[in-house]
């Protein structure tokens, strides 16, 4: 093609349109093949980063500290032939529903602060097990009853607490009177008849063991123990025994069997149990303990029935 003045144009002539289209299509296809679609890996990287950020935020976010665990010393009954073993239990707060690990906490058994000046100091450092329990052999006390103290140290929560427990060392043939405190002693005030009967029995050298299995909550067991301690003018001194494994689901019946079996294995003297319901009566009787059931309910065969505490006659048979 020539211009109007007869000269050739300076630029190359424009290629024909169909050729340009082909080239463009080829270029597009080639680009599509070479460059993978980027949105998938980008999305994956973004998701990963967000997850990492969420995790870091969760990890470093200042959480409210857990309410510290509390320690409870458990009363000990032993014979003069045995080396007493002191025990303690860590308690989770009552309002806490989710279980948390109870093992590995520092537990220190030692003489109480009120020890006599000439008593040799004792300190046994141990750790709690998975049930939150700790135990240690304790030197045999020189008296039939002695206190021990246990501390729980929780450095993470900057918390230290302690509790007092009692050790009762009785002769192997000591007569033992097992009283179900939760069932038989009264709710607010001590049953006066119970008080009179128990004090008389103690004077006649019966050794009183209080059993408090009514509640699954260890805090309520503690309340029962405090109630007995506060009424010591009316109730003779004696160990207060609760469920052996507080942290676990253990029925009152299982716990009662375990306590009776342990006492039967270790003491050979006369043993009497005072209970108020038929199931407890049956368990005590089956454990080979002479059983008195207070109240009007139908006592199982072989169980002595007593309408009230004043009808309870504790004697060696």
């Amino acid at each position: 093609m020539e211009s109007s003045n007869g000269k050739k144009p300076i630029s190359d002539p424009k290629p024909a349109a169909p050729k340009a289209d082909t080239l463009a299509r080829q270029l597009k296809d080639s680009l599509a093949k070479r460059r993978p679609r980027p949105w998938l890996p980008v999305l994956a990287i973004l998701t990963g980063s967000v997850l990492i950020l969420v995790f870091l935020a969760y990890w470093y976010y200042p959480r409210p500290p857990l309410t510290p665990l509390q320690i409870m010393a458990l009363d000990v009954v032993g014979t003069t032939d045995e080396v007493p073993q002191v025990r303690a239990q860590l308690l989770t707060p009552l309002e806490e529903k989710t279980p948390r690990p109870l093992n590995g906490f520092g537990i220190i058994f030692h003489r109480p602060l009120t020890q006599k000046a000439n008593d040799k100091p004792i300190e046994i450092v141990t750790k709690s097990d998975a049930r939150g329990q700790a135990a240690a052999d304790w030197p045999k006390p020189s008296t039939a009853t002695a206190d021990f103290s246990v501390n729980h140290v929780d450095p993470a929560n900057r918390h230290v607490d302690s509790d007092l427990g009692r050790i009762f060392i009785w002769p192997k043939d000591a007569p033992i009177l097992i009283v179900d405190a939760a069932e038989t002693l009264g709710a607010e005030e001590v049953d006066e008849q119970a008080s009179a009967t128990l004090r008389r029995a103690a004077k006649e050298d019966w050794h009183i063991v209080y059993v408090a299995l009514g509640s699954e909550q260890p805090q309520e067991f503690r309340a029962a123990r405090i109630w007995i301690a506060r009424n010591q003018a009316k109730l003779p001194i004696g160990p207060v025994l609760g469920r052996p494994h507080i942290a676990e689901e253990e029925s009152a019946a299982q716990a009662r069997r375990a306590i009776l079996q342990s006492l039967k294995e270790r003491f050979q003297g006369p043993m009497v149990a005072v209970v108020k319901n038929e199931v407890s009566a049956q368990i005590s009787k089956d454990a080979g303990v002479r059983t008195i059931m207070i109240g009007a309910g139908a006592a199982p065969a072989g169980v002595t029935q007593a309408p009230t505490w004043s009808d309870v006659v504790v004697r060696v048979e």
Binding site: L113, L164, I226, A229
Partner: protein, 211 residues
């Protein structure tokens, strides 16, 4: 590291910090951190050197009147005397073992106790109530005394006052106290028919009596 700093016994932790220490009747000791102890408590403060029948009876009467448990309160710091030693604290605490719960504090004045136990009812003898109302315990400044009563009221604290014999062998009753009218509601009386105990721990010590 923390193991080295944290004492092994709650009593030592209490002595090292400004915390309050609760000792339950069964001997359980728990330190309450610095700050306030929640819950409206009924407290019977004293030095308990020694604890005597009057303390036990007063606690019983207060429990029956208020319908809630009464804890004893022993401050290791004293306005007029030196701080109690660890051994002395142990000796005094031993009197309560297996019988009653005790709060151990560093709160010598009632205003300190009230800051620690807002909402508390303090069970006191009329002689103690008289000291709370005496300007000489506030450096002779009546305005300070009124400010303290104002603060006690704003912390919802009150006093249950038991009759005590005064120097003239007369029963000092709540009505005999110079309570500023604006603060009458802070003080409530235990009638002498319900409770009266005329011997203090120091008088018992002088007589050579123990618990």
């Amino acid at each position: 590291m923390l193991d080295e700093i944290l004492p092994n016994h709650p009593l030592d932790y209490f002595l090292q910090t400004g915390a309050a220490l609760h000792v339950a009747a069964d001997g359980q000791m728990v330190c309450a951190e610095s700050g306030r102890c929640p819950g409206a408590q009924v407290l019977l403060p004293g030095s308990f050197n020694p604890i005597h029948r009057g303390h036990w009876e007063l606690r019983e009467v207060a429990e029956s009147l208020l319908g809630q448990p009464v804890a004893f309160e022993l401050s290791v710091a004293n306005v007029e005397k030196p701080k109690l030693t660890r051994d002395e604290i142990c000796r005094r605490l031993a009197q309560f073992n297996w019988q009653a719960s005790v709060w151990l504090t560093h709160a010598p004045k009632f205003i300190d106790k009230a800051e620690r136990f807002p909402g508390a009812t303090f069970v006191v003898g009329a002689d103690t109530a008289l000291r709370i109302l005496a300007p000489r315990y506030y450096g002779g400044d009546e305005a300070l005394m009124l400010a303290a009563l104002e603060r006690l009221g704003s912390l919802h604290c009150r006093f249950l006052v038991a009759c005590r014999e005064d120097d003239r062998k007369q029963c000092l009753r709540c009505g005999d106290l110079p309570i500023p009218p604006a603060f009458r509601a802070l003080f409530e009386e235990i009638s002498p028919e319900r409770f009266r105990w005329d011997l203090s721990s120091s008088e018992l010590r002088a007589l050579g009596h123990g618990i």
